[in-house]
């Protein structure tokens, strides 16, 4: 970069040993991050990797538990977004944080309106707004309401405001998520221009193509730890994906070599989805699930993993294809319909989609069964107690107190309780979306063990995970998703973390699904 000679001594922004825990669960552990001026730096990782936690610490939203932040070599400690802005760190979030019912100029100068004789000097504000936006190639009416512009323009306005306000570091959280290809191009032109001006840009995105197009460096986080920081031109895509998904084997791994092609011995598929899909969600796919089989679903963030689960469980309605159970066609148009066909679903977002926080562990465990029995046939409190106690014991839910509101349990124990909720309904198919996310190592291993036990008892499972070792460990087959499409199906000897990574990168021998 052109000001390399200036920044030899001090990076623009440097974070060392950042640590942060929420309710005792570490979200970031000993993370280092360095941003040079005039650099576009992509911050990558799956959901829960710690990207947004790191960003929020750098921009003053969260307080770090440990570590130091340096700006131009001086230690800083932003306690609020405003303070971070004054220091020079500006942020533009995915949901553009501007006010729609104000004009463009008002938004640009909100909280710092130019004044004249104590009154807001509208003319100066207008003129300065115009000059400011012209730098970004925007020739728009600055007196028009913000709501009259597209998301792309609003984003540029937000960037203009952030750069004008802070000027040194610009943090962009998923800036391209709601832009079309043309708008992305426009945004990137602006980002390159800012890079030329020496601004340090941190960009969070899950579009790898865009990372290769725009970024100079990447830093990859995984499970709250730093995986590494590389120059993008020296990092093949395959290596980047394996950095994101990881392949250090740590748990029990099923020996696929030892049980070659057992899948075909499992008899006819009991659940079949054919040409199943929904426009704008997941392209039509075929999926056969045999009794006692664990089908894994792999793919990067945004590849359509959870969307596939939503289709299978009837949360989203498929607009093409058929579902067949034991040869009979069924319509899975709602979660109720899915449950009536003895499906169960542990969602990824445990807090918002899983637990009913104020209710007790026992009530949470009984919920799906009660819903299935209908409102008229109440599960007696003694039966509820028995169910809760037996699952608290068999899944080792702690504390072993069935009357405690579930919101006071740790993530791992909440997850076990949600699993118990489905196990009491004796499902034929259990869909687990990121079953081990955000839970401690002990519970992690227990849940994997339980998946194996359940399938040995004849239950079918669909396991969605961004932990590849987890998938290769428990799954008999893995469906690989990329760009909302099933791109490969791996089983037997092909089923390795390397195989999955190659399939995601689109460089392996893939069988089109």
């Amino acid at each position: 970069m052109r000001d390399e000679d200036m920044s030899v001594q001090h990076a623009l922004l440097e974070a060392r040993g950042i640590g942060k825990s929420f309710f005792g669960i570490p979200a970031l552990d000993e993370v280092d991050f360095t941003l040079q001026g005039g650099e576009i730096h992509a911050l990558l990782g799956e959901n829960g990797a710690g990207k947004s936690t790191l960003i929020k610490i750098l921009t003053g939203v969260y307080r770090r538990d440990r570590g130091t932040i340096y700006l131009h070599g001086n230690e800083v400690s932003p306690d609020s977004v405003a303070e971070a802005q004054t220091l020079g760190i500006g942020t533009v979030y995915q949901e553009v944080n501007l006010l729609e019912n104000l004009t463009v100029a008002e938004n640009l100068f909100l909280g710092r309106q130019p004044r004249r004789f104590g009154m807001i000097d509208r003319r100066t504000m207008r003129d300065r707004s115009k000059t400011l936006l012209q730098r970004y190639g925007l020739n728009i009416d600055v007196d028009a309401l913000l709501s009259s512009f597209s998301v792309a323009i609003r984003q540029l306005i937000a960037i203009a405001r952030a750069v004008d306000l802070s000027g040194k570091v610009l943090v962009l959280d998923e800036p391209t998520a709601s832009l079309d290809a043309h708008e992305v191009k426009g945004l990137f032109t602006v980002l390159r221009q800012l890079r030329e001006e020496g601004v340090g840009i941190v960009i969070i995105t899950h579009f790898l193509d865009q990372v290769y197009e725009i970024a100079d460096r990447v830093t990859v986080l995984r499970n709250g730890r730093l995986v590494g920081s590389r120059t993008i031109s020296e990092l093949p895509r395959l290596d980047l994906i394996s950095m994101m998904l990881g392949r250090e084997l740590q748990h029990i791994t099923r020996d696929h070599q030892a049980e070659p092609e057992t899948v075909d011995d499992r008899g006819a598929p009991s659940i079949q989805f054919q040409n199943y899909g929904k426009k704008g969600s997941v392209a039509p796919f075929d999926l056969d699930i045999r009794p006692g089989e664990v089908v894994g679903i792999a793919g990067l963030l945004g590849s359509g993993r959870s969307e596939t689960a939503f289709l299978l469980f009837g949360i989203d309605r498929a607009d093409s294809g058929t579902a067949t159970i034991d040869g009979e066609q069924v319509a899975i148009t709602s979660p109720e319909a899915a449950i009536a066909n003895r499906f169960g679903f542990c969602p990824e977002e445990r807090k918002t989609d899983g637990i009913v926080g104020d209710l007790s562990v026992a009530d949470n465990i009984a919920l799906a069964l009660q819903a299935q029995r209908g409102w008229m046939r109440l599960i007696s409190s003694s039966h509820k107690r028995e169910l809760a106690d037996s699952f608290i014991k068999s899944l080792d839910i702690r504390p072993a107190d069935r009357e405690r509101p579930i919101k006071f349990l740790s993530g791992g124990n909440q997850q076990k309780a949600i699993l118990a909720r489905w196990l009491v309904t004796e499902p034929r198919l259990l869909i687990l979306d990121e079953p081990t996310r955000g839970i401690d190592i002990g519970a992690h291993a227990e849940i994997l063990k339980m998946i194996e036990r359940l399938c040995s008892e004849g239950m079918s499972l669909v396991v969605i995970s961004s932990e590849l070792e987890e998938l290769t460990a428990v799954a008999h087959r893995v469906i690989v998703l990329s760009d909302r499409r099933h791109v490969a199906e791996l089983s037997g000897r092909q089923l390795t973390t390397d195989g999955i990574i190659r399939a995601i990168a689109g460089t392996g021998e893939t069988e089109a699904a």
Partner: protein, 343 residues
């Protein structure tokens, strides 16, 4: 902890508040607690409270369920007027009592289902959805009564409001009976459990297969039904239907009763019994102020003052302080225990 002590612990703040309020009134107005028998019928301020509480208590039952779903029903005061108008019209046209009662109840349920459509199907915010019927309802009632106060003379129907059975006024039977019936319906079936789950986290409940829409419909329908019964009592009591004033602002008293009863407006865990005690607290304040001889213009202010005190005692801030004090004490005990154990 067994069932009874847990219930008692849940109801303790409301029971204590009611006892204190009754105690204070009896100090100001001697004879307040006396109940006498005249002509084979119970008389006294306490009985009066139980009778006068009937409309609010009935509304409170339905309101508790609606609030438990994280909703609110502003329309029930207007539903009282509609159902009262329907009942008065049918009575004055000479329809038999069972028909009058059945039609009025049906109209109340229909009003509730209308709210249900707006809230559960169209996903309109409950406060707006029920505001529509709150405003329109009195208009509908006026159309039914053709703009006049419709009076009638029918002793059997009037008995619903002013009659007595075995010495006890009939409104008392009606509200306690309704509350018991609905309480049993809610707690002996899974309705209560599922309503709580829906109110706390509708999305999670739906993903677990709970039919959230059906539950919202039931809650609003029950609320409409309760308002219909209250409407008949009010109408029977004054032997006439007053579209403008019947049940006016009673929905606000019902909301207050639920809140005093400790059910959160954020939905979730509810107790109909606690809400009913809340309704009794409100009615005791009303009656108490009257019998203690304060100038009536002070009534509303005194009532507001007392309710502020009750709510302050239940507020999260105060609960946190109490919880902290308790926890410190328990902590002391624990430390103590631990020390003893190490010895």
């Amino acid at each position: 902890m067994n069932w009874f002590t847990r219930r008692l612990r849940r109801l303790a703040p409301q029971l204590a508040a009611l006892a204190i309020i009754l105690g204070v009134i009896s100090l100001v107005a001697p004879g307040f607690l006396t109940v006498s028998v005249q002509n084979g019928r119970l008389y006294g301020s306490l009985i009066d409270i139980l009778v006068r509480a009937a409309p609010v208590a009935l509304l409170t039952v339905g309101m508790t369920l609606v609030i438990a779903t994280r909703g609110i029903d502003l329309s029930i005061g207007a539903v009282i007027a509609i159902c009262g108008a329907v009942a008065a019209t049918l009575i004055s046209e000479g329809y038999p009592l069972p028909v009058v009662i059945a039609v009025s109840l049906g109209v109340g349920i229909a009003c509730g289902l209308w709210n249900g459509v707006l809230v559960a199907v169209l996903d309109i915010q409950p406060i707006i959805a029920t505001l529509i019927l709150m405003v329109a309802g009195r208009g509908i009632a006026q159309l039914i009564t053709e703009g006049v106060i419709l009076t009638f003379n029918d002793d059997t129907f009037s008995a619903l409001g002013s009659g007595a059975l075995a010495g006890i006024p009939i409104p008392i039977y009606l509200w306690i009976g309704t509350a018991l019936a609905i309480g049993l319906l809610i707690r002996r079936t899974a309705l209560g459990f599922l309503i709580e789950a829906t109110g706390i986290n509708r999305r999670a409940a739906s993903l677990a297969g709970v039919r959230a829409r059906f539950l919202l419909f039931s809650a609003y329908a029950i609320s409409g039904l309760c308002a219909a019964i209250a409407g008949m009592i009010v109408t029977a009591d004054i032997r006439g239907a007053d579209a403008n004033n019947a049940g006016l602002w009673l929905e606000l008293d019902a909301i207050l009763a639920v809140v005093v009863g400790g059910t959160s407006l954020n939905g979730g865990r509810f107790s109909i019994t606690a809400s009913l005690i809340g309704a009794l607290i409100i009615q005791s304040i009303n009656t108490g102020i009257l019998v203690s001889g304060f100038p009536p213009e002070f009534n509303l202010i005194i009532k507001a003052g007392i309710i502020i005190v009750v709510l302050t005692l239940q507020s999260p801030a105060i609960v946190t302080v109490f919880g902290f004090i308790k926890a410190t004490r328990r902590g002391d005990k624990l430390n103590h225990g631990a020390k003893e154990a190490t010895r």
